[in-house]
């Protein structure tokens, strides 16, 4: 049938993913118009490069987060895993080639390969530890990975300090990495992007076209039924948590390359939540069983595009408002996904006492944000306008309800 191939083509993206794509295009277009420095016109290559690099670094471990979430779990530890992976890599290089590392000289490709292998192996070990805590000790995934979230970062710092104390004259909380191979990765954005796209394609194939992928979805959808259907659920979980930790370990290597340093105290701090946010914005359900790779990729792109847009428009460092933007994007994306595209006829946004108390909170938020970015009086004006609009909405909702 000729129609089949067309509908197959459309099925590459679901409806929510098309709207996400549309939102990405809209965010780029709005930034291009509003940004007074016109960075997207004048330096398109640099802008694209920044967004592509940031997206690839976030996207790599977002895919891991998505697989764990689809399998019905959660991995809160990926930020700390990034720090540990970088530290293991740098410490291994320091141990194998201390003179070259301290003299900022090349350590040789063999040492780099061994160090990167050690990082990925660490990811496998951490994933296995998670699975053991969850399936044998029977901790809830949230608790098990919360413990490693705080524990692994501390462990990485201890490893860094005792490693530098033993191998170099001074104890240090960071290790500089100056090998040319890492510099090449830093200077060629195509490398992280290619790795990300290959990993995304492999994950897509895994989830949609393999038996293991189907078992991951079944596990996330109904764990007891999956076990009774004869699926070795513990082994499937083992894969999911190892995939989550190893993608974070892989991302950790790119963090080290990008910053030329392994810094366990701050590297990747809080980024686990960005990865979970990318998966959720891309349509993964935290109750498990639901989610796609194209959605997660688009979710990561959307987050980075919006963060970039805001930093371009208000001309501050992207990191200042990053958390706030991620928070707002998650709320809006999930709200729209639940509403199914349009607001329901009978839904009220500001009902009862809770609605009354929400009006000043939203007005205050809008006002203070405007005040911080555009000056005090603009903030007061925005806050008052927002408050007035919300009061009008409340009155309108109240009258509509009375009329019914």
């Amino acid at each position: 049938m000729p129609g089949t191939s067309i509908s197959r083509g459309l099925q590459w993206f679901r409806q929510s993913e098309w709207s996400l794509l549309l939102a990405i295009v809209a965010a780029v277009a709005i930034t291009a118009v509003i940004d007074s420095n016109h960075s997207y016109y004048e330096r398109p290559y640099e802008s694209l490069r920044d967004i592509a690099r940031n997206t690839a670094m976030l996207g790599i471990f977002s895919l891991g987060a998505a697989v764990v979430i689809i399998a019905g779990g959660i991995d809160l530890s990926s930020g700390s895993m990034i720090a540990l992976s970088g530290t293991v890599c740098a410490t291994t290089m320091l141990a194998l080639a201390p003179a070259e590392m301290m003299g900022f000289k090349p350590v040789g490709p063999l040492v780099v390969v061994v160090a990167c292998g050690a990082s990925l192996l660490t990811g496998f070990l951490v994933g296995t530890l998670h699975t053991w805590l969850i399936t044998v000790i029977r901790l809830p995934p949230f608790i098990a990975t919360l413990a490693t979230l705080v524990g692994l970062r501390s462990f990485a710092r201890a490893l860094c300090e005792s490693g530098t104390a033993a191998l170099t004259p001074t104890k240090s909380a960071l290790i500089n990495v100056a090998d040319p191979l890492f510099k090449t990765v830093r200077d060629n954005v195509s490398i992280p992007v290619t790795v990300f796209l290959l990993l995304a394609a492999a994950t897509w194939l895994l989830l949609s076209r393999t038996v293991l992928g189907r078992h991951l979805q079944a596990l996330g959808g109904n764990e007891q039924a999956a076990r009774l259907a004869g699926i070795r659920t513990d082994n499937v979980k083992w894969f999911a948590y190892c995939f989550g930790a190893m993608t974070a370990a892989l991302a950790g290597l790119f963090y080290v390359a990008n910053e030329s340093v392994a810094a366990p105290v701050n590297q990747g701090r809080g980024h686990e939540l960005n990865a979970i946010a990318a998966a959720v914005v891309g349509g993964c359900s935290l109750s498990g069983g639901v989610g796609t790779v194209p959605g997660t990729v688009l979710g990561a792109v959307f987050l980075r595009v919006v963060i970039d847009a805001v930093s371009k428009i208000i001309k501050t460092g992207a990191d200042v408002y990053e958390g706030l933007i991620v928070g707002i994007v998650v709320v809006l994306a999930v709200t729209f996904a639940q509403a199914g595209g349009g607001p329901r006829h009978d839904r009220r946004l500001l009902p009862g006492a809770l609605g009354l108390c929400t009006i000043p909170i939203l007005a205050l938020l809008a006002g203070s944000l405007t005040a911080m970015t555009s000056g005090g009086w603009a903030g007061v004006g925005t806050g008052l306008t927002a408050g007035l609009l919300l009061i009008c909405l409340r009155i309108w909702e109240y009258r509509r309800r009375r009329a019914e």
Binding site: S208, R214, N222, G288
Partner: protein, 506 residues
């Protein structure tokens, strides 16, 4: 019809649309005060939707509701409760982590003079209500730890605690044993003596004809008729429900059992917590190829435990011997049981069997997906070819193999799960209460399917909370009481009375 002041509830011209489905089409229903009004219809006929509109869960698209002669509009279930309408939902709506007492008073907790939660009053109230149902459930036990039948009793007690003038019972006995159903019927009699109006949804014709004053039949979202019980017969009502005559089949005749396939000897399963009696004690039976062995017993008698233990799903601390084809086997995971040729259709379809996030094909192919691969990748086309067999074999009615499984009726969902089991090419099929919550028409189809599979040489072990079902299908029946085997009957010897006597033996 009675005068308008004697009408407790009237629903006029009710229409309700869901995306893609016209669930109710201009349905009108009048229920007299103090009447027990049975509502019959196949699954998907609109019974539950109509009752959810009456109890404020859904708002109708068109039509009018009247309670005690006054037009009303319910925005939520609280509004319906204030108007004196309580509903016992078919799908259990209990908070599993809370105690039985806390569930019964949920949202209407009694308080002390200081405004604190009055724990004692909660438990007293719950104990009184449960005593009224002649149940020995401890009000302090965690609701999630109860079996389905006991949870259903808690749900009933919760609705009774509202002290409502109109009580809607949506298939209240679908998870109850005969003895529990009899207790519920006594409760219904008491409620009627207090002058309450009851709307009663059921598939079970014997119940309907024992209890009801009037019977309303729905089919495909339309009102077929409302008649006095004395003016009709069960066969006529069943005919209205399905729109065709259903023969009352006996399936067990002329089967020729083959060699013994599965033998179970002195099976014991210790209690999950120390200090409680063993879950199973000293149970021995066997089942032959081409034979259906029925397991009867009250809720909690150990029917599910027997199947789960054999299937390797109940842990590894059981003792005794299981022999398959004469060889001793001991399964530590359901996977090993599947590979050895066993298949289990679980008791609670939604909780233990169905994957709502997968489509129809995904649900059926799950255990055999490796057969639908090209290279190492799953081929959608091959998967659809693979599931076409079980879909036609079990008669699943679905618009396409890629349709959402949640869009199918309960009977068709169950056929999907049986189809999943058949794809693993089992020699022994374990069916744990397979027709629970399934309508009459689909039940007859499932009976025919089970009979056909058995004639093809499968050994079938079937548990059921409905004795007529066991008597219709089984060649032999064993009876469990409190984890012990109390009787075994051949088909010729078995009667409902004998089985009940054995099931309640102590």
């Amino acid at each position: 019809m009675t005068a308008s002041s004697d009408i407790a509830v009237a629903m006029r011209g009710i229409t309700k649309r869901f995306p893609g489905v016209l669930a109710l089409d201009d349905v009108t229903l009048e229920v007299g005060r103090g009447e027990l009004h049975a509502i019959c219809g196949e699954n998907g006929a609109g019974k539950s939707t109509l009752m959810k509109i009456l109890s404020g869960v859904y708002a109708p698209d068109q039509g009018q509701l009247e309670v005690a002669g006054r037009p009303v509009q319910f925005t939520d279930t609280r509004a319906a409760e204030r108007a004196g309408i309580a509903i016992i939902h078919q799908e259990l709506a209990l908070v599993e982590e809370l105690s039985v007492a806390a569930n019964i008073v949920l949202g209407r907790e009694p308080r002390t003079a200081l405004g604190l939660l009055d724990q004692n009053a909660c438990e007293r109230l719950a104990a009184d209500l449960l005593a009224g149902l002649e149940s020995s459930i401890d009000p302090r036990s965690r609701t999630g730890s109860l079996r389905v039948g006991d949870q259903q009793l808690v749900e009933i007690a919760k609705a009774l605690s509202l002290d409502a003038a109109v009580i809607v019972m949506d298939e209240p006995t679908s998870a109850l044993t005969e003895a529990e159903s009899a207790r519920l019927e006594r409760t219904i009699t008491r409620l009627r003596e207090q002058g309450r109006t009851i709307l009663y949804i059921s598939h079970k014709m014997d119940e309907v004809f024992r209890l009801a004053d009037r019977i309303t039949v729905l089919r495909d979202g339309r009102h077929v008729c409302s008649v006095d019980r004395s003016e009709t017969t069960p066969a006529e009502v069943t005919g209205w429900m399905v729109g065709r005559e259903i023969a009352d089949h006996q399936f067990h005749g002329q089967r020729s059992p083959g060699p013994c396939l599965l033998e179970v000897e002195r099976l014991c399963l210790p209690a999950a917590e120390p200090g409680r009696p063993d879950r199973l004690a000293d149970i021995s039976f066997n089942v032959h190829a081409g034979e259906i062995l029925g397991i009867a017993g009250l809720m909690g008698a150990g029917r599910t435990e027997v199947l789960e233990t054999i299937f390797g799903a109940a842990g590894d601390d059981w003792t005794g011997q299981v022999r398959l084809h004469g060889q001793p086997v001991r399964f530590r995971h359901p996977r090993e049981a599947c590979q050895a040729g066993l298949a289990l259709v679980t008791e609670d379809r939604k909780r233990l069997g169905l994957f709502a996030n997968l489509d129809v094909a995904g649900n059926i192919s799950l255990c055999s997906l490796a057969e639908a691969t090209a290279g190492r990748l799953v081929s959608r086309r091959r998967e659809e070819q693979l599931v076409a067999g079980p879909i036609s074999q079990t008669g699943v009615k679905t618009p396409s193999p890629r349709a959402a499984v949640t869009g199918l009726s309960g009977g068709n969902q169950q056929k999907c799960i049986i189809g999943r089991c058949l794809l693993t090419k089992p020699r022994v099929l374990l069916l744990d209460d397979p027709t629970r919550g399934i309508d009459v028409g689909a039940k007859a189809e499932l009976y025919a399917l089970i009979d056909r599979l058995c004639r093809e040489g499968l050994a079938v072990i079937l548990t059921s909370s409905e004795l007529p079902e066991l008597l219709t299908l089984a060649d032999r029946v064993i009876v469990l009481a409190e984890g012990r085997l109390t009787a075994e009957f051949s088909r010729a010897e078995a009667t409902e009375q004998k089985i009940m006597a054995a099931a309640t033996a102590s």
